[in-house]
């Protein structure tokens, strides 16, 4: 036991003495949380639009004024003809052209209707959808105004909306669970697989194997520091998101921490499994990145909604442990639900962990023979 502790201490020192590793372990999560929290956002903010006002009357001026003062849009250019639309859109400085038809005001008063046409830059579909939906909301507002106070009473069905789980509609609620999931996988699986493969590649593993430490102790000693570090990391991320984004843990903290430990354990066993398969560090890196990180980023649903993907992708997502883990933390942290709501996911993680450990032991034995 004493020997084992000494070995763990040595492994710890290895990690702590390496400033780069420390930056990776503590810097990456912090930067990612801040990136996702502040930078990655889909809100429209003073998006530049151009107007092609073929009428130039009081109503079109009011409408364009409303669009520009909404905070979502900013006047980028005033066009004089259709041919200019092509030009400004191609330059990418303008995201949409808003066209008021000829005799807009006169038509509205005499015919009771006049039309606005939006030409949006479809090369960025998200943006294009947002632009049209925001402009149609502004126009709907204006229509209600036009109809006057009398109409307010006849709009009989009045929806009252309640945003569950995230009343202030913060984007971070979506990303924090994803970042936790990704970082744990990065530190536990990728780092450990590389550390162990490194020992293999440089032949230091053999030195350890002939030492009185048992193989299981060696692996445990390699893995234990990462277990502790990633746990500290999770706490750091939780604190960061609590203080910076006011994202609380709604459910039971004990349950959350227990699930986190299970997930860390699973990532570590995945890392060990990879190291038993990989012949050198480059292969370990490749397997981890392509086989693990990429599917996680893509298919666990934290950036891109899985429901809209083609079926085969959804099937893959169904066997991806991180996807299950994201559901677990979302449920506990944000929805505040108890174990009853996550037991299936937990069971899946547990089975996966045991399978990974079993496979690693088998691979390890084959190699020793």
């Amino acid at each position: 036991m004493k020997r084992f502790l000494g070995f763990v201490r040595k492994e710890f020192l290895h990690i702590f003495r390496d400033p780069l590793t420390m930056i990776i372990i503590f810097g990456i999560p912090a930067v990612q949380i801040l990136l996702f929290g502040f930078v990655v956002s889909t809100d429209l903010k003073e998006t530049k639009v151009a107007f092609l006002d073929l009428s130039k009357d009081e109503i079109t001026r009011t409408l364009s004024g409303k669009i520009c003062s909404s905070g979502f849009f900013e006047l980028g250019a005033d066009l004089t003809g259709y041919h200019e639309a092509e030009h400004v859109l191609r330059k990418n400085k303008i995201k949409a052209v808003i066209v008021f038809e000829k005799d807009f005001g006169r038509r509205l008063i005499s015919d009771g209707t006049a039309s606005v046409h939006i030409i949006a830059d479809g090369s960025e579909p998200n943006m294009a959808t947002l632009i049209t939906s925001h402009i149609s909301a502004i126009i709907a507002d204006y229509n209600r105004e036009l109809a006057g106070a009398g109409l307010q009473q006849v709009l009989l069905v009045q929806p009252e909306v309640r945003m569950f789980y995230n009343p202030t509609l913060k984007g971070q609620f979506m990303f924090v669970p994803g970042v936790i999931t990704l970082i744990m996988l990065l530190i536990c699986a990728l780092m450990t697989s590389i550390t162990i493969t490194r020992e293999k590649e440089f032949g230091t593993m053999e030195v350890l194997l002939v030492s009185p430490l048992r193989p299981a102790q060696i692996i445990l000693g390699k893995v234990l520091p990462y277990f502790i570090l990633s746990f500290v990391d999770v706490i750091l991320i939780l604190l960061l998101s609590w203080f910076v984004f006011e994202l609380p843990v709604k459910g039971s903290l004990a349950l959350l921490l227990a699930e986190l430990m299970l997930y860390i354990l699973m990532s570590l066993s995945l890392g060990i499994l990879i190291s038993t398969v990989a012949k050198n560090m480059q292969q370990a890196i490749f397997i981890s990145l392509v086989g693990m990180m990429l599917p996680t980023v893509l298919l666990s649903g934290f950036i891109i909604p899985v429901e809209s993907m083609p079926m085969p992708y959804q099937w893959v997502s169904k066997i991806l442990p991180p996807a299950y883990f994201i559901t677990i933390i979302k449920n506990i942290m944000i929805k505040g639900t108890g174990f009853l709501y996550v037991w299936k996911e937990t069971l899946f993680l547990l089975v996966f962990t045991l399978a990974a450990i079993g496979l690693s032991i088998r691979n390890f034995k084959i190699r020793l023979q």
């Binding site: 590793t21 990655v40 606005v116 030409i119 830059d121 909301a137 789980y165 449920n331 709501y341």
Partner: protein
């Protein structure tokens, strides 16, 4: 010049002799295109809706019928229990709950406004806003239809309405594959160039072979160019493979000049390789390089505007993006492929890329020390 050719020859020999790398170079573009392009779509196909109709009159059925009729909503459950609806939302079985109160039909017929409750799963804030917007739209249409039928229309109110139509240029159907492909080409070139070049130099440091090179009279710039050229060529070949797959598999149109696309990607690659080599002079092990490299790639990609528009970022982040080569190539690729933009439209972005490429390469040459 001859010296550089010898160095390039050596790199190619090593790359293709490595069984793993030699295959990976051709496999990565195929996998990336087939995996990433179809996966990324933010289109909301349908929103699962749970309806609590406590009224059960023709009026309330008309409203739910209109919701059912829209392709956007899918009513997954009708129930009378609020608790059941909440549980369904907990379990992710529905994203919206619409609650129609008792007396809905009666009150509407009398012209008394009726509140209906809408619950939205808002964990994904942008989806929540969108689906709530759609639902609100359906309800307002319901209201207007009743008005037009003349029910409860006060005398003397003439209805004036501005109508709205729209068209999406360059990507009529808002096909996300068209949107993603140019971006994925950028990621492909970035990842291949950055990781291969960086790991290559660190590997020479780790195995000590760089020592033998350092005692030769090879010039610093010769060494760096000898490292860059092979990966530049590999990156461009991968770009060609990716582009072919993209166009033939996903039917993404190509409006602009292929030559311009390759030219700008080449400039971009020089910048990426320069940065990778610069960073690899700091790393002692391949492991260290991978982690810092991975970190940079994530930051570059997330801030490039591939998933979310650049214009939505805070100003300070947009300033940082001035030195993010990925932000430029993302825009350039999209503009060339989808909009057919020409050199004239892109010259500022291209100029910026040239500056970045020059700066990073200079840094790499400067930081590479033949003397410890």
């Amino acid at each position: 010049m001859k010296v550089i050719l010898y160095l390039i020859r050596k790199e190619f020999l090593q790359i293709f002799r490595d069984r793993f790398l030699g295959k990976a170079i051709f496999a990565v573009p195929v996998v990336q295109m087939l995996l990433l392009v179809p996966a990324v779509t933010f289109e909301i196909r349908h929103v699962n809706l749970c309806v609590i109709d406590r009224d059960m009159t023709p009026a309330s059925r008309e409203l739910t019928g209109q919701l059912e009729g829209s392709s956007f909503f899918r009513i997954t459950r009708k129930t009378f229990s609020e608790e059941e609806a909440r549980t369904m939302m907990h379990r992710n079985r529905c994203d919206l709950i619409l609650q129609i109160p008792e007396g809905f039909g009666r009150n509407i017929a009398r012209g008394i406004p009726v509140p209906v409750q809408v619950g939205v799963n808002a964990i994904n804030a942008s989806n929540a806003q969108l689906s709530w917007g759609y639902l609100n739209g359906v309800i307002q249409t319901y209201n207007l239809n009743r008005l037009k039928k003349g029910a409860g229309m006060p005398a003397g109110v003439q209805l004036q309405q501005v109508s709205l139509s729209n068209r999406y240029w360059y990507n009529e159907m808002l096909n996300y594959r068209h949107y993603m492909m140019p971006g994925v080409l950028g990621i492909l070139v970035l990842a291949i160039g950055f990781i291969l070049a960086g790991l290559n130099l660190v590997k020479e440091k780790e195995s000590g072979t760089i020592e033998q090179i350092n005692v030769t009279p090879v010039k610093k710039y010769q060494f760096i160019l000898g490292k860059m050229t092979p990966f530049l060529l590999i990156g461009l070949v991968d770009l060609a493979i990716g582009l072919t797959i993209g166009i033939f598999t996903f039917g993404v149109p190509f409006q602009g000049s292929i030559l311009l696309l390759f030219l700008s990607s080449a400039v971009f690659l020089v910048g990426v390789l320069g940065l990778a080599l610069f960073m690899s002079t700091f790393a002692r092990t391949q492991q260290q390089f991978m982690f810092t490299g991975f970190f940079f790639i994530i930051v570059f990609v997330l801030m490039s505007g591939i998933f979310t528009p650049l214009e939505s970022m805070p100003l300070w982040a947009q300033k940082i993006d001035l030195v993010n080569p990925m932000a430029y190539i993302m825009r350039i690729n999209r503009m060339i492929m989808l909009k057919g933009s020409g050199f004239h439209d892109l010259r500022n972005d291209l100029l910026a890329l040239v500056l970045i490429a020059t700066a990073f390469t200079t840094l790499a040459v400067w930081r590479y020390r033949k003397t410890a």
